[in-house]
Amino acid sequence: MAAVDSILGAPEPDDHRVVHGGRAARNQRHQLLPVLHAIQDRRGWVSRGALEYACRRLSIPPAEAYGVVSFYARFASEPHGEVAVHVCDDIVCGLAGVTVPDGARRVPCLGLCDHAPATLTERFGMVYEAVQTSHAAARYPGSRLLRRIDVVDPDSIDSYREHGGFAALKNAREMGPAAVIRAVTESGLLGRGGAAFPTGRKWQSVADQPVRPHYIVCNADESEPGTFKDRVLLEGDPFAVVEGMAIAAYATGSEKGFVYVRDEYPLARARMARAIAQARDKGFLDFDVEVRRGAGAYICGEETALFNSIEGKRGEPRNKPPFPVQAGLFGKPTLPNNVETLVNVLDILNGEFADSRLFCVSGQVLRPGVYEVAMGTPLRALIELAGGVPPGRMLQAVLLGGAAGSFLTPAQIDVPLSFDGVRAIGATLGSGAVMVFDDTADMRQVLLRIARFFRDESCGQCVPCRVGTRRQEEILDRMLGTNGDSRADVMLLSDIAQAMRDASICGLGQTAANAIASGLTQLRVLNG
């Protein structure tokens, strides 16, 4: 109860002449996830009694709230010890030969692929603690987007200002909203979350909406396996993200902002919260913004699922149209932008923008990490920047674009890293994940991990994805084993893939077969 009250404030005194709940309580529905986190952080699980108290305070039916608890991987509805150890055995950490000790839980990608194998340890109690695998910030000399990483103090706004911080916001306010949007449009910036939508056009659409309020949401739910660039930005340069949001809010007339940070990034979350508080104290923010915590669901990186999650619901994507710019968070016009996209905006307004982007190189390379290269740089050069495969080994394959991306063979790695360049060979840049496999990697295991990932992370709402991802894993499993008629199974997989691509509600289902389909044609994994 104390945990719930810490979020919602003390309850009204019992007075049976007064009706509690009603609209005032229902309007707080969006506090459900913060409340569940408060309970989980203190006890390690969400008991029936705790959930029912939360439901009474928020006027939510318990059956519905249980649906929310059981949707998110991070919430437990069984009693739990005071420590929880999460061990990643996803694509990259799997390559690093991870073993999951007794009592630990295996979890999908923790976004620490440059420090594989990765773990996250939670200690529940009055003082909740979450510790990631140690990952010291690296210096990135010569990089535009990463130039302040390990240079500024991420906990000090003064340090950020000494390095040119908030100059872009000042410029923006001198230019006026329309000119800001024009500058962003003319820069040609495309969204860096994976869908590559023109940022300026999105801003304009929100600014044009007569309905109020407008919301801005910074999508920091980076969960695509092999992607960790946003984590590096959030941890090392949080004030830049805050400044980017402030500019976006100013340009689009947004009254309220949310930063939705995945639960697996406790350090990023803490630093963002501190950065927002300091920026507010110093008077840089003229809109309200708060940090929201994910709860272990890849699907919440999908913008409409993310809105549902902020609203305190299951992270099930919505049908589009309506699009977020028309009716997004709380049914109002909403601007969802990725972390890297927002940081780029600073350089546009400071006249320092260049057409380069971040790539997360991981797997079997000597120096895994985040690299910034100009658009059009050959993939080979990027892999060489990361040190190439270990000495004595040969490159076997590259998975470009994360679990929803596609496999490239050594013969294809001269492809230029641009939207058109990779499209020409049927690939996608996605969120900038580049996973490198040398000749020692067991690609069957990699494909099976990808299939397992999508089966785990499907929200379960629509049939093609809910059953399709399950069938995909089952068929792949028997096909890559010793028995099974491969040819018939390849046909089955291709049939399922087409239905998932054509008929799923959201991008997860639509791309859940991409990597596996490309793996089966590009890699030698089939019998005979």
Binding site: P62, A63, Y66, R455, V463, P464, R466, A499, A503
Partner: protein, 281 residues
């Protein structure tokens, strides 16, 4: 009068009122469109994806049940892509769920799209024991296709009781009360509106369930008697399904202006007094 929107479906032009769905336009043109999660008295959730159609200019197929008509839409309902997705949706469902008690209409769609659910081989199903925890109705989630209809009928679309919701995620998603408690411990008020909307027989009158188990359920011996509920003054229309002079199931027509297909516990289950006579017969 609402503004009209002109669209083309399978080469036929049609003018629909603004706000209509593609599905309504298809029905207007007598184009048979498979639907599993759609019901006229519920908000579309568009999760089954059986009704998808091809819309010119759209990268993916769009759900006919919820997509509203826009001027100039060019729609195809019987292309190889549409047939493929409809077939796969039916196959994927039938490979994981017992669909033997679905309507003849659903069986017809399975045939029309040549759905062969067994072609996936030995695969996981959602089979689990039947939940019999009260005297009025049973829940057999081995038959559940997760169409969300019962959740909607229990919630804001009809009953506003919110006793059940969707729990879990992915292939493990299922309909549940809070913490999986039995119905007597939940908020359920036994209106039975979830049974009224269930398309697969997952939710069933206990009377029907017992008769099916005993092998005595025989729809050819059943007659339907229409009447008005005798309990209160609302005037709900009842359809009493009678076999061997016993009431075995009670429903109300979806298009009835008073009920929209929904009843309360008295109308749905309070019929035993008709059959149980006192000592003086």
């Amino acid at each position: 009068m609402a503004e009209l929107v002109s669209i083309t479906i399978d080469g036929h032009g049609v003018d629909m009122a603004q706000g209509s769905t593609i599905l309504e336009a298809c029905r207007f043109l007598d184009i048979d469109t498979p639907t599993l999660c759609q019901l006229d008295n519920l908000t579309p959730v568009n999760v089954c994806r059986a009704c998808v159609v091809e819309l010119e200019g759209s990268r993916v197929l769009v759900p006919a049940c919820s997509r509203q008509v826009e001027p100039g839409m060019q729609i195809q309902t019987d292309t190889p892509r549409v047939r493929h997705s409809r077939r796969l949706v039916l196959e994927l469902l039938a490979s994981s769920v017992d669909m033997t008690l679905t309507s003849g209409q659903v069986q017809g769609w399975m045939q029309r799209y040549q759905a062969a659910p067994t072609r996936f081989g030995k695969v996981a199903t959602v089979a689990k024991p039947v939940k019999v925890d009260n005297e009025l109705y049973v829940r057999d989630y081995s038959r559940c296709i997760l169409c969300y209809k019962c959740v909607e009928a229990c919630g804001a679309d009809a009953q506003n009781t919110f006793a059940i919701g969707v729990a879990g995620r992915g292939f493990d998603a299922h309909i549940s009360t809070e913490f999986e408690v039995g119905l007597p411990d939940s908020a359920c008020v036994y209106c039975g509106n979830c049974i009224g909307v269930c398309p697969t027989g997952a939710l069933m009158f206990k009377s029907e369930y017992d008769m099916r188990a005993a092998g005595t359920w025989d729809e050819s011996r059943q007659a339907v008697t229409e009447t008005v509920c005798p309990y209160c003054g609302v005037g709900c229309m009842l359809e009493l399904r009678v076999q061997d002079n016993s009431i075995v199931r009670v429903t109300s027509p979806l298009d009835h202006s008073v009920t929209s297909g929904h009843l309360c516990v008295k109308g749905r289950f309070g019929f035993e007094f008709v059959q149980k006579r006192g000592p003086r017969g």
